[in-house]
Symmetry: C2
Subunit: 240 residues, 2 copies
DNA sequence: CGATTTAGGAAATGATTATTCTCTATTCTG
DNA sequence: CAGAATAGAGAATAATCATTTCCTAAATCG
């Protein structure tokens, strides 16, 4: 993590906090990484000037909802300021540009969803039981009104992955992470005997990854909870 | 099918061919439905004025590629004219507006993909064998460069389904149609003995629908043919 | 052939949008 | 308390984009 001046910035003088995860994954943030962690943290070292009046996590959560519904390109700065309850100038004080808002919202969404998923999986239970909870978690997000809202990862993959390498990397990283999670759960199930040993953990995890993302797509058409729950039941049979 | 003047059109005087599938699904076309059928048809009754110089199907196929890659909102009229090799004025001679180009491209894509899918499935074989061909067809479209291009249905679902009822209806109709196709194949397999009778055809078809759409999402991250083929193999085991 | 109709093409228009600018307000530092 | 630094807010700007307009070209109809 280093402080610097982004090379592509038009005018020097504005400092951005850069977070380097990868040479391609440099984003200009104006706040600390801890600020977007799911559990709202107290800003340890208060910075110099006038303090920010709004809560960054709240604002980003609202931005997430807007980007989910409208997608990136159909979301105007006006849509964002309205949802985040900020003036346009304030947005540009906090973010380099619209894309930076999106990337921050993406990261925030990833952190929140990951935390919720972990909470849904819980600590105990067999691999099979925990896998059922993962599938149920996605079924829950893929029906009714929430399903219609859509998924930021699916939306980003469809809308941005081809022309924005940074978004593409994040989408791929999110999917890869999910794939690893699914693989681990299958292996755990095979270790505890709840999932047959003959199952190909890698290929089955990939199938489930596709299934989960597909549920988010089909969920955009407003399916019922029962319809999605039935899908989960059939998927579970693939692990028997 | 009736000829009329769209109610929401600003200025009267321009006639559009309206195709009424549903009270909500009225689109302003300026050509006959047969023109966008996959097998290029000869224009039976040549119309009055100067004939169109470009081939509508070719142009729409090019529009499909652009919309797939860029999505709806990121596609400018300039992008379309460049891809379709038309002047801006010509686009507006042939289509009411950008949205009409998109809807026509969507319909064209649907027709082309349906024809290719039917060709891939073929006429003979058991239900199970034909199902494998369906899955393989989607695996083929979900890997490498073609996978990265993306799927117009997934993109439309993510980007437009919430705010454009007409697009939402078309997306839902496309998915429903696929779900029916999958259900029929399972039932055919159960009738010819290639698929066990105990399988829930409706729920399994819905699972496969989600899986196929999800493959298109995951395929945006540039997976290999082998990875997608492995998914197909695992999915087939769900039908055993 | 002349009138009518429709297509091709490029420039003009009008609206929208992302971004910047300017001014004020509020905090910390010395 | 003075000054530096940052945030809030709304107006101004500059670019982009969808759409219209205007003119020419090519076909059919009477």
């Amino acid at each position: 993590m280093l402080i610097g001046w982004p090379g592509r910035e038009a005018k020097p003088g504005k400092r951005f906090l850069q977070i380097g995860l990868d040479s391609e994954m440099i984003v200009s943030y104006k706040w600390d990484m801890a600020d977007i962690a799911p559990s709202a943290s107290i800003s340890v070292s208060r910075s110099r000037g006038r303090p920010r009046e709004f809560d960054m996590n709240d604002a980003l959560d609202k931005a997430v909802r807007v980007f989910c519904k409208r997608g990136y390109h159909a979301t105007s700065i006006g849509d964002l300021t309205e949802a985040m309850q900020l003036a346009q100038g304030s947005v540009y004080k906090a973010f380099k540009d619209k894309r930076a808002v999106f990337l921050a919202a993406f990261d925030r969404n990833k952190a929140v969803r990951a935390e919720k998923l972990q909470a849904a999986i819980g600590a105990g239970g067999t691999g099979l039981e925990r896998m059922r909870k993962v599938l149920a978690f996605y079924a829950e997000a893929s029906h009714g009104a929430e399903g219609r809202q859509g998924c930021l990862i699916v939306g980003s993959a469809a809308e941005l992955a081809i022309f924005d390498d940074e978004v593409a990397l994040r989408v791929a990283a999110s999917l890869d992470r999910n794939e690893v999670l699914l693989t681990d759960l299958i292996r755990q199930g095979q270790a505890d005997g709840s999932i047959p040993a003959h199952i190909d953990s890698a290929a089955t995890a990939r199938l489930l990854l596709c299934l989960l993302q597909g549920m988010r797509v089909v969920g955009k058409t407003g399916r019922s909870r029962d319809e999605m729950a039935a899908v989960v039941e059939v998927a579970m049979k693939a692990l028997a």
